[in-house]
Amino acid sequence: MKMLSWRVAVFLLPVWLCAQSLQEFEKRVTEFTLDNGLHFIVLQRREAPVVSFYAYVDTGSVNDPRGKTGLAHMFEHMIGKGTARVGATNWPEERKALQQVEAIYDELEQERRKRGRADPEVVKKLEADLQKAIEKANSYVNPNEFVRVVEESGGVGFNAGTGPDRTTYFYSLPSNRIELWFLLQSEWFRQPVYREFYKERDVVREERRMRVESSPQGKLQELLMATAFIASPYRTLIGWASDIENLRAEDADRFHRAYYVPANITIAIAGDVDPAHVRRLADKYYARIPAGPLPPLVITEEPPQEGERRVTVESVSQPILMMAYKRPDQRHDDDPVLDVVASILSSGRTGMMYREMVRDKQIALAAAAIAAFPSAKYPSLFLLYSVPNMGHSVEDNEKATEALLEQLKREKVDEETLQRVKTKIRAGLIRQLANNSGLASQLAFYHVNYGDWRTLFTGIEVIDKVTADDVQRVARKYFDQKTRTVAYLVKPGAAEAPANNAGGEAK
């Protein structure tokens, strides 16, 4: 009886809450689109005199040109470099110097393109010239002025991020200083300067060493993506080392002109703001960015997978298992069902993977599912990973994970579990509503990816309609060994271990 009463209470309460939240929000949200196509979403939240800004550019590593992986990511690093007016000590001279760098680099590339016939002396000289030209250009830099101004003005959380499908720029300011954000960000969007580009390229190369090459998980994750995807640009996120090492400022310029057009940018602002004031500032600063055509869509489609793929990374570190199944993009009707499936598998202490693998069988230190990996604008992966406990292997973790997926296919999920998952998803939304920066990012994300920020709320109703039949149908449809990629991180020679073990221990 008691169980039932919880369930009823839960069922009624959050639906009401979401409807109420949406109504409440409608009153406080203003939206407008400038003539050049740039879209603004403004949420008024007067709890404290602070404002969060979140600029979402609908581009990411999927748009990296062939041979130039890592290019979209460079922009995240260029934001701090500033503009013609910010970060410069003498822009006219610096501009000339930067052009000179590119001219020498062109010459160098021409010589290198001769391959075997290239004159090593010429290459050496041009490399030295290039270095000199770069140093000259750097002599006009007012280092990190752009970020310093933000920080001096009380800006917090200044950062940017690059994903497969998005590049985002964000920070928060005291509410009396919002004009600074309009000025700086619009100026950079309109005309970034590829200042210190080649030093920053080294920094990105270091970032790759840190995140991928010196990290067992990073290596495994990269290999999983590159194996699961043959053609899809989801193959790599940070980019290949050799591509990064050869990126050019002029590549970035071309990329900017194609992808940083106003119609491809959405800006969300949340906090203590007056919507009319925001509109005036948007007109003043952002309307001047010239309109441009929408960038091309990614047309490369991943061919169907016709057999299981298995890969191994040998590493002296402890084992990790990743398993990934192909799934459709976020606009597909099964998208919300896959979210529910991931929650059933791994949300909290009641998730199937925690219960079975961590708690009961004790074969894993941690085990979880991610509904969409690495992103979901294009068809992607349903990822399951597991960190085996001491004395347990990736193999037994794989078996246990597989058994759970088979269970989802064989048996209908019980109503209590389904309800619990839905309740948690709803409550999770409510818990996000008291945080400016989180809200700004969500509003922008839902607008760009689902066409309307309201989807943040209405999506919950879609989740609510997911049935146990849906869960079973979707499990049967996607958890197919044929479309699976399994990646192991194991010790060198671990495949021989079981036999040796028996030899050593049995008498």
Partner: protein
């Protein structure tokens, strides 16, 4: 096609449209005029003391229909007993997972998650917390769980075991992440590896910790007078106070006041500490020494020092190491003061192996620079404005004010500490900054921890002209506690062993054994599946062993003379790897005819661990526990630790059955082996022969 080329054209046209001259001129950021910032609302917090002595802090916040809170408990892992490091952490974990008197943890999981609520517990370095969060409507129900977890956790054994298993896995994984290694070793070096601030949890500690320890730890620290309770959310404070008063009215346990945390007693450890990790191409470093506490008079000045040195995108280190040299993705400095004990001043980051020495050198140069010359006016202005203009973010969520108040009280800081800090930063001068840097940054005390691949370091670390000390990352294997030995237990151990000798045929028979041969079928069950192995094992005095095995994938053989040996597989023959040699040595020690003679073999000690249990240890420290059947005198089982091929230790038990006589000596025909409690292998002995005249030549001959 047409549309696309048109698009390309338009994009081309943009280039020209973008020429700077066409843009209407807008103000520079220097010309912007800002209105005054609206007054910040500082929320009111109601403070009470409940009749059982708990202090209560309530903050109404009606923005969302949620209620959350936490109990802050004066405890911490600084109180871990030296032999049981990790006890506080495990206690915090199992307080929640192990359930309460009325309800197992698993039931609590379902109960809470059905209503999207949470109750969590944890114990950190200098405090413990139990927290909750729920929708307003569920607050009564969730508070019941919260109270039960806080006051009457049951520490059920299955969850104690689970938490210990997980702790062991965490230890096994602690050398996988180079950044985590640097941070851990840095603390150990700064605070001292044998102090509560610098020590690490090892397998032996986890093995020693039992449910009773957790119960006792909880009992000692979780009592009303030692707890501050803070709640915020959608409630009326007076009503909530009454509710909590009633809820906790029956909880009145008392304990003596908790003593002060142990003092930090560390001496500087200057020099380079190098941990070699072959699978990385970056060096992860930490450079620093002990810092101070937040109460220090020069703390605000030191915060400014650290900020200018390495506090953000516009800091000196960021500019030099990242922006100018491109050596690092991340680099930063932190003064790191704590509330109640000296924190660590640290500079951390990572750089490609090749630029390791250059990066460290650059950083040391910047440390020297900031303590020998005044910062610029501009740097000071930036540092001050950052603190002052972003001050409002200390109040952007009402909960921040609540948390601050509770933390300040917990550590004995004044309520307005943050405002004092703001004022101090506002008035700090360049001279004060230099003085603080000069006094508190000590280049000759810096410990430099580097985790990386020295063979690729480019310039040698020795160019830094500092002593270089290696860090050994080996994870110590669990030491099984040797049982306490005194003359009585030694005598009794010998007596029991002699009883077993008698039961299998007598010491004389055993001592006459010069060699033996045993053939067996072994059925191994493993996670990957089952496997049948045929084995032929031969032993010759004093310590020659040969094993031949037929496995599903081919034949394997090995020979070991007590010191060295070889291993032959279908892939070829190689010198016996250390890990295999250790397993073979263990197998020889355990081999029954020899094990039973341990009282007569040199280097072995025999001791009675408990009734019916003899502990036998060989010269290398390897030990085995032999259980003897009290009625028949026959060996029942042996228990021992063995290293797996993965390098992880496991506990194995060989249980004997089906005794038969071979050449006058009784031996088991069946041996059931379990590994960490799970069935692992069944051995079926086909034949045993003693003294058949084996020779060293025939045993050592390679296939």
């Amino acid at each position: 096609m047409i549309a696309r080329s048109l698009a390309a054209l338009l994009a081309g046209g943009l280039l020209w449209a973008q020429a700077p001259a066409k843009v209407p001129s807008l103000p520079g950021y220097q010309e912007l005029k800002y209105p005054p910032l609206p007054q910040v609302k500082i929320p009111e917090i109601a403070v009470y003391t409940l009749s059982n002595g708990m202090k209560l802090y309530l903050l109404e916040n009606h923005e969302l229909p949620l209620v959350g809170g936490f109990a802050l408990v004066r405890t911490g892992n600084l109180f871990d007993p030296p032999g049981k490091i990790g006890l506080a952490d495990l206690t915090g974990e199992v307080m929640r997972t192990g359930g309460t008197r009325d309800k197992p943890g698993d039931e609590i999981d379902v109960q809470l998650e059905n209503i999207a609520a949470s109750v969590e517990a944890g114990i950190g370095e200098t405090s413990g917390t139990v927290s909750f969060n729920c929708l307003r409507e569920n607050v009564d129900e969730v508070l019941q769980v919260f109270k039960a977890v806080l006051t009457e956790p049951e520490f059920r054994q299955d969850k104690v075991d689970l938490a210990k298993t997980q702790s062991r896995s965490i230890i096994a994984r602690r050398n996988d992440n180079p950044s985590a290694i640097a941070s851990r070793e840095f603390s150990s070096i700064l605070y001292g590896r044998d102090t509560p601030y610098g020590w690490d949890v090892e397998y032996e500690h986890v093995d020693r910790i039992a449910r009773d320890d957790m119960v006792a730890f909880h009992k000692r620290y979780f009592f009303p007078a030692n707890i501050m309770l803070a709640l915020q959310g959608d409630f009326a404070a007076p009503a909530m106070k009454d509710k909590l008063e009633k809820l906790f009215a029956d909880w009145n346990v008392q304990q003596p006041p908790v003593p002060a945390f142990p003092p930090v007693q560390a001496k500087p450890s200057p020099g380079v500490f190098l941990a070699t990790k072959e699978d990385v191409n970056q060096t992860f470093f930490r450079i620093g020494h002990l810092a101070g506490v937040l109460k220090d008079e020069d703390y605000p000045a030191l915060q400014v020092v650290a900020d200018i040195l390495g506090g953000g995108f516009s800091s000196r280190l960021f500019r030099k190491v990242r922006t100018e040299l491109g050596y690092a993705y991340s680099v930063g400095a932190n003064w790191g003061a704590n509330y109640n004990h000296p924190g660590a001043f640290s500079i951390s980051g990572s750089t490609k192996s090749e630029s390791t020495t250059a990066t460290i050198e650059t950083i040391l140069g910047e440390v020297e620079r900031i303590r020998t010359g005044e910062v610029t006016d501009e740097e000071l202005k930036t540092a001050k404005e950052k603190v002052l203009n972003s001050f409002v973010f200390n109040f952007d969520q009402p909960g921040k004010t609540l948390n601050r108040l509770v933390i300040y009280e917990y550590h004995g800081y004044p309520k307005d500490f943050i405002f004092q800090y703001q004022k101090a930063v506002e008035s700090v001068t360049k001279a004060e900054i230099l003085e603080a840097a000069k006094k508190r940054l000590n280049p000759d005390q810096l410990s430099i921890v580097a985790v990386g691949k020295p063979s690729e370091f480019g310039r040698e670390l020795s160019e830094l002209n500092l002593p270089i000390k290696p860090i050994d990352l080996t994870i110590p294997e669990p030491k099984r506690e040797a049982s306490k030995a005194d003359s009585a237990s030694l005598a009794k151990g010998k007596e029991l062993l002699q009883r077993a000798q008698q039961a299998v045929g007598g010491a004389g028979k055993l001592e006459a054994v010069n060699d033996f041969t045993m053939s067996a079928n072994v059925h191994v069950t493993m996670p990957q599946g089952a496997m049948n192995v045929t084995q032929l094992n031969r032993w010759l005095k004093p310590s020659h062993v040969r094993q031949e095995q037929e496995l599903p994938f081919g034949k394997m053989s090995s020979y070991f003379d007590g010191k060295t040996g070889w291993l032959s597989t279908p892939q070829g023959t190689q010198p016996m790897p250390d890990i295999v040699a250790r397993q073979v040595r263990g197998a020889v020690l355990r081999s029954l005819p020899l094990l039973l003679l341990s009282d007569r073999l040199p280097g072995r000690s025999v001791n009675l661990a408990e009734d019916g249990l003899v502990e036998i240890t060989d010269a290398s420290g390897e030990s085995v526990q032999l259980k003897v059947n009290p009625e028949t005198g026959l060996p029942e089982s042996v228990t021992y630790q063995s290293l797996q091929m993965t390098g992880q230790p496991a506990t194995l038990v060989d249980a004997f059955d089906d005794w038969q006589e071979f050449d006058g000596i009784r031996q088991p025909r069946k041996v059931a082996i379990t590994r960490d409690g799970q069935p692992y292998a069944q051995v079926e002995v086909k034949e045993i022969r003693f003294n058949s005249g084996l020779t060293v030549e025939e045993l050592s001959k390679q296939p």
